[in-house]
């Protein structure tokens, strides 16, 4: 502690420069993580939050709900194979005509059988089991746009009118706000005559049905077209940034250690153990990483406050903690290089050698 702090105090500039590099890289990592999360949420939160244990799709869709088509007959076939009550699910993109002086809203219908679909987390009004006829549950973003309970919405393509019976907690699919409707209400635009449903959802034990795919919510999210590719790219970037930052700090401390070989040799000659010297290096690594972590986390939190509404950004505490822990571990691993060097320093060489 003594050596570590005194040195950092004396050579402020070089340690400040190193922490600036670490702070910048960490800031990017946190920011990207938040963005990846936000994107993932905007893209798939509605699928993640589907109130069912399993989602059945046709085989050709390979688990991607939006690509799956099921006919009335197939639905019956599936429901009869499952013991628990099942609900059909249909995803239809459409547009709600804006009220006077308001712009239209692109959205997506999640049409289900209200009697066989579990209750959703709602913030106001009725839940799914209570809606009748042309009543719908709309995403909370409609509230922000000025809509209220019992307001009437008009679908632009079917020109059908519906009533807002409740607001659901934020659920989006492919960046579109979700409207839950009764599949038999005929509000949503119908697709081809054949495949009128996308999937069948149910709660209960997993049942494999020949000719169909059964997947969990999480699997369905992963199968969304482009989802794993986007998230995968983010992961690759994050991993590389981590490696770069650990590398920068490992090299920095290694070079510093080499520079101080003679000094450490003198310390060893005076009876300092390798452990004593290593402790001071590890202390410096820890202090710098902890400082950089808190500085960049603060910067990201600040950044999140001033980001415009439309930027999908979600940073959770657990994510920052996990990222931070991995970062500290990587940096400690990098410092092993310097510690190895310290064990190799021979105090004999420090004697009689001029600085």
């Amino acid at each position: 502690m003594f050596l570590a702090l005194k040195e950092m105090k004396r050579a402020k500039l070089r340690y400040i420069l190193l922490s600036l590099i670490m702070v910048s890289i960490l800031f990017l990592v946190f920011f990207m993580t938040g963005l990846a999360n936000g994107l993932s949420f905007a893209d798939s939160s509605s699928l993640q939050k589907i109130k069912a244990d399993y989602i059945v799709t046709n085989e050709e869709a390979e688990g991607a709900v939006i690509n799956s088509e099921l006919t009335q007959e197939q639905f019956k076939e599936i429901s009869s194979s499952i013991e628990e009550p099942a609900s059909p699910l249909s995803l239809t993109m459409s547009t709600i005509t804006g009220k006077e002086n308001q712009k239209d809203t692109d959205m997506i219908y999640f049409s289900v059988d209200p009697e066989h679909y579990a209750d959703l987390p709602i913030i106001e009004g009725k839940n799914i089991s209570e809606i009748t006829g042309k009543e719908v549950l709309v995403n909370e973003s409609f509230k922000k746009d000025g809509y209220e309970l019992n307001d009437r919405l008009i679908d632009e393509s079917t020109e059908k009118t519906m009533t807002i019976a409740g607001f659901i907690e934020n659920q989006t699919y492919s960046f579109l706000p979700v409207i839950y409707s009764d599949i038999d209400s005929g509000i949503h635009p119908t697709k081809s005559n054949e495949g009128i449903y996308n999937a069948v959802v149910y709660n209960g034990a997993k049942t494999d049905i020949a000719g169909f795919d059964t997947s969990t919510n999480e699997e369905a999210v992963q199968s969304m077209p482009g989802y794993s590719e986007t998230q995968g790219s983010f992961t690759v970037m994050k991993v590389f940034m981590f490696i770069i930052s650990a590398f920068v700090s490992a090299v920095f401390f290694y070079v510093m250690t080499i520079q101080k070989t003679n000094q450490f040799g003198v310390l060893k000659a005076m009876g300092a153990t390798t452990f004593y010297i290593s402790k001071s290096i590890v202390t410096q690594v820890l202090l710098l990483t902890l400082f950089s972590l808190s500085a960049s986390a603060t910067a990201v939190v600040g950044m999140a406050q001033i980001l415009p509404e439309g930027v999908p950004f979600q940073a959770s505490v657990s994510l920052v903690l996990v990222t931070g822990a991995v970062f500290i571990l990587l940096n400690l691993a990098g410092s092993l290089l310097s510690l190895y060097k310290v064990t190799k320093i021979d105090p004999l060489e420090a004697i009689g050698r001029s600085e």
Binding site: L3, K9, V266, M270, I351
Partner: protein
């Protein structure tokens, strides 16, 4: 002579280094004993083995043959960890260049030794103040080495060597980088500390003018140690000479 007074005893000490398929004898059957308060100088041509001898006494190197008995313990067969502990508690080094830690103030240079040895904070501080005063460095305690003169730096190095209350001080050409006058001051400081603190000290030097300060002068030649009677007479004149 009382045994407890004896700080260092070397018994038939030899050191060989492998050199290709031959071995070179750097130290050849060296025996020596030193008492507290004794300041010994070693002179000799380059390559005669002076630094090697100091390294062995200083627990940096182990001998090939023979014993090194420091403060009653034979350190010649010590394991590396024991050698490190011996250096920390029983040995004070002064090198050719001061080898100070650039980012520590003079005060901290000295305090560091106490920290390495886990010496109680107050005792450490007292010792530091005492040495700083004796070495005439009071006005420099909060300075960094870069702002000190060569002589001052070497005096800090002396202070550092005494901080752990060692049994023996080993100085390898401590005046090589100083002019005669400053060199002499430094050697006198070492001598003063050795006498008042009842330590033993060995100094390797090329500078004949420093020998007057020492009690004994030993000559090193081809790994052999020969007592220089001349110097002893100079230092402690016999009645016949006066």
């Amino acid at each position: 002579m009382i045994m407890s007074e004896e700080i260092l005893t070397l018994q038939h000490l030899s050191k060989f280094f492998p050199d290709g398929d031959r071995t070179i004898t750097v130290l050849d059957d060296i025996s020596l004993s030193m008492k507290e308060g004794e300041f010994v100088a070693i002179v000799g041509p380059s390559g005669s083995g002076k630094s090697t001898l100091l390294s062995i006494i200083g627990a940096l190197l182990t001998p090939t043959k023979g014993k090194v008995i420091l403060d009653g313990k034979d350190i010649s067969a010590f394991k590396p960890a024991q050698l490190t502990a011996t250096r920390a508690s029983n040995i004070g080094f002064i090198f050719q260049s001061p080898n100070l830690i650039p980012y520590l103030t003079i005060k901290d240079q000295l305090l560091l030794i106490g920290k390495i040895n886990n010496i109680n904070k107050k005792a450490n501080r007292n010792k530091m103040n005492e040495l700083v005063r004796e070495l005439g460095l009071e006005h420099r305690v909060n300075n960094y080495p870069s702002s000190l003169s060569g002589g001052e730096k070497q005096r800090v190095a002396i202070g550092r060597a005494f901080m752990n209350d060692p049994k023996i001080i080993l100085a390898d050409e401590p005046t090589a980088s100083l002019d005669t006058e400053r060199g002499r001051t430094v050697v006198e400081k070492i001598a003063y500390e050795v006498k008042t603190r009842r330590k033993a000290a060995i100094m390797v030097t090329h500078d004949e003018r420093m020998l007057g300060v020492c009690d004994r002068v030993l000559h090193m030649e081809d790994g052999k140690l020969i007592e220089d009677n001349q110097a002893e007479k100079k230092n402690h004149p016999t009645p016949a000479q006066t």
